[in-house]
C-alpha cells in the first residue's frame, strides 16, 4: 500500500480533515506529522533560507520529518482558493522550495488554482490520487466522505464562543495561530485571563463578503482579505473590546493589511495590539503582553 505524508502545517490547519479522510478512503496509508516540536522546527530552520517566514520554516520541518517515513509527501501548490485572489507568493513556489530541501525524495504536488479550469481542490486531490497510483473510482468516491467530514470540521470552527467576559478578536493566519509552537496557545491564554476569544472563522461568510465589497480596494490575498473584513465586522458590530493581531516576522501580506487594520482600529478607538512571532520568540514575553492588554480591556470596560 502506498503511503502518503501530510505535513501538519500551513493548509493542513484548514483542509487537514479533507486531506486525511480523502487519502484514507482512497486507499492510501496516511501519515500525518505530529504537532510541531522544537525538533521539527529545527529541521525546518536548518533547511530553509533565513528570510522565509516561520510558518514556511515549520512546513519545511514537517516535510523533512515525513520524508524519511513515507513514499510521498503531499505538498499541494495552492495558488488560489478564491476567484481573482491569491494565497501568498511563497505558497506558489512551495513545492519547488520543498523539492530542493528533500533532495530527491518524492513529493506529490497537484495544482490548486480556482482561477483556472480543472484545478479546483477536488481536481487536485483526484489527480494526486492518480499520481500515487490509487484507483481513480475509489478516489472519486472517497471525496464524498471527505467533504462531509470537512463540512463538520468547518461548522465546529464557526461556532461562536460562549463567555461573559470582555471579548477580544485574535486575528491572524490560521496556520500560525493553530500551530502548537507559533500559536503559543494564545486563545487558551486569553481565556484563562477571563476573556472571550473570537477569530475570523466566526464571522458569517456573507458578512465577510459584504464588507469586502465595501473596502475601498480589497487586497488580492485571500487570508488578508478575511482578516481585514473580520476586523471591520467585529468593530462595526461592537462585538469586541480589543483586537490582537498575530503575525509572523517578515510576513509580506500582513505587513500591508496589518497596517490597514491598525488604522481602522485607531479611527474607531478600539485597542489594538500587534504580536510578531518568529522562531526566537519566548512565551514569557508574550504572556506579559497579553496580560497587559487584558488589564487594559478590563479597565476600559469598568470605566
Amino acid at each position: 500500500m502506498v503511503s502518503v505524508g501530510l505535513p501538519r502545517a500551513l493548509f493542513h490547519h484548514e483542509f487537514g480533515t479533507l486531506f486525511e479522510t480523502f487519502f484514507h478512503h482512497a486507499g492510501a496509508a496516511v501519515e500525518v506529522s505530529p504537532h510541531t516540536t522544537r525538533e521539527i522546527l529545527d529541521l525546518g530552520v536548518s533547511s530553509a533560507v533565513d528570510e522565509t517566514c516561520l510558518p514556511v520554516k515549520i512546513y519545511y520541518g514537517h516535510a523533512r520529518w515525513l520524508s524519511e517515513r513515507v513514499d510521498a509527501v503531499f505538498v499541494p501548490r495552492v495558488v488560489s482558493i478564491c476567484p481573482r485572489e491569491y494565497t501568498c507568493p511563497k505558497f506558489l513556489g512551495l513545492p519547488d522550495m520543498i523539492k530542493r530541501a528533500l533532495r530527491g525524495r518524492a513529493i506529490c504536488s497537484p495544482l490548486v488554482d480556482v482561477r483556472r479550469r480543472g484545478a479546483s481542490l477536488y481536481d487536485a486531490l483526484v489527480s494526486a490520487a492518480f499520481e500515487l497510483g490509487l484507483d481513480e473510482r475509489t478516489a472519486r468516491g472517497a471525496m464524498r466522505s471527505a467533504v462531509s467530514r470537512q463540512r463538520a470540521m468547518v461548522a465546529a470552527m464557526r461556532e461562536a464562543p460562549k463567555g461573559k467576559g470582555p471579548a477580544v478578536a485574535v486575528l491572524g493566519h490560521r496556520y500560525l495561530i493553530s500551530d502548537a509552537l507559533s500559536g503559543m496557545d494564545v486563545k487558551q491564554r486569553l481565556q484563562a485571563l477571563g476573556l472571550t476569544v473570537y477569530d475570523y472563522h466566526m464571522v458569517p461568510e456573507s458578512a465577510l463578503f459584504r464588507i469586502q465589497q465595501r473596502v475601498h480596494r480589497p487586497a488580492f490575498w485571500t487570508y488578508e482579505n478575511k482578516i481585514l473584513a473580520a476586523a471591520i465586522w467585529y468593530m462595526s458590530q461592537r462585538k469586541v473590546d480589543g483586537i490582537i493581531q498575530w503575525v509572523s516576522f517578515g510576513c509580506g501580506p500582513d505587513s500591508m493589511v496589518g497596517e490597514v487594520v491598525a488604522r481602522e482600529c485607531r479611527q474607531r478607538e478600539v485597542p489594538h495590539m500587534l504580536v510578531t512571532v518568529d522562531e526566537h520568540t519566548g512565551t514569557a514575553g508574550v504572556q506579559t503582553r497579553l496580560e497587559a492588554f487584558s488589564d487594559m480591556v478590563f479597565w476600559r470596560r469598568g470605566k
Binding site: 528570510e51 507568493p89 513556489g93 519547488d96 530542493r100
Partner: protein
Amino acid sequence: MKITYPRMGDWTAPLGGMLEQMGLPVVRPPVPSDRTRNIGARLSPEFICYPLKLNLGNYVEAYELGADTVLMGGGVGPCRFGYYATLQKDILADAGYPMDFIVLEPPKGHTLPLISQLRRLIQNVSLRDFLRAVEVAWVKLQAMEDIHILANQVRALEAAPGQTSAVYREQIALLDSATTVESVRARWSRARQALYHIRKVHREGVPVVRLIGEIYMISEPFANLDVEERLGRMGVCVENTLSLVDYIRQNLIADALRLRRDRSLQEEARPYLAHFVGGEGVESVGNTVRAARQGCDGVVHVMPFTCMPEIVAQSVIPSVSQEYGIPVLTLILDEHSAEAGVQTRLEAFVDLIQSRKRSGDESCQSTWVSM
C-alpha cells in the same frame, strides 16, 4: 494638477521628459537621499518592502516641491506592489500630505480601464503632441539603456577611477534634455563616442557578473548602494538584467495587442521553479540559469528585505548554483543596510570569482553566499 512619479534610477527620466513635453506640470522625484529614506521608513509599516519606503519618501519630497498627483503603475498580485497605491495614498493623507493617485494597471487584455486613466492624465493634450512625446521618450529610453550597458563595460577598464561615471552622468543629462527624436539620436551617438574615448587599461580576463533581482532594487543605485559602480571599480563588467524597453514590449505592447509573450526565461527557470510567484521571482531564477549557460563568472542577486517572490527565488537558486557551478551572491537590503558591509561582501565575492578564473578550475565547488 502637478504630477510626480516613482523614481527608478535614470530609467524613469524619459517618463518625466515625456510628461513635460506634453505640457503637463511635472515635479520630478528628487534623487533619493538619506532624508528620503528616513521619511519613508518613518511613515511606512515596519516590514513593508524597501521600494515602498523609498517611494513614499520621494512622494513627500515631491509634495514639498508642489506635487499633488502621483502617476504610477499597478498590479493584481500576488506581489505587494499591486497594493502600493492604496496603502501609500492612505499613509500620505494621514501624515498630512494628501495626494491624488493615477494608477495605470497592466492591461491583461482589458485596455479600457488603462485608457480611461490615461485620459484623466492627458485630457488637454492633443493627440499629435501626445504621440510625439511618446516617440521621443521611447527612443530616449532605448538610448539610455544602451549607454548604461556601455558604461558598465567601460567602467571595468577605466584608467582613472570615476571617470566613466562622470561621463555617463553628463551624457545622460544631455540625453534627458533632448526634445526631438533627431536630437536624441544625435546625442546618443555622441554619448557612445564619449564613452569610447575614455582612457582604458588593458586587462586580461575581465570577470563578467550579472545583476539580477527585484526590478526596483536593480534600477535605483541609492537602493542597491551603487552595486554596479562598486563592482565596476573592482574591474568587473556588470550586466544588468533590467531592461525597461523589454519590459514595456512584453507587458504593455504584447499584452495590449494580445501577442504571445517571450516565455524563454520561464522555460529556463522551469526545472527549479515551475510556477510564477509574482514580481520577478521566476525571472531571477531564469536569469541565473541563463547567466550560467552564457558563461558569466558570477551572479549578484539583489532583493529587498521580506520580498516574497525573491525569497522563493533565493530558496531555489542554490540548486542552480550547484548544478551549473556558478557563484551567486545574494544581497538583501533595506534602510538599515550600510555601505561598508556591502563593499566587504562584494570584494570577497570578486576575490572568489577571480581566483576561480585564475585557477581555471571550473569544476571546483560553486559557492552560494547569502548575506
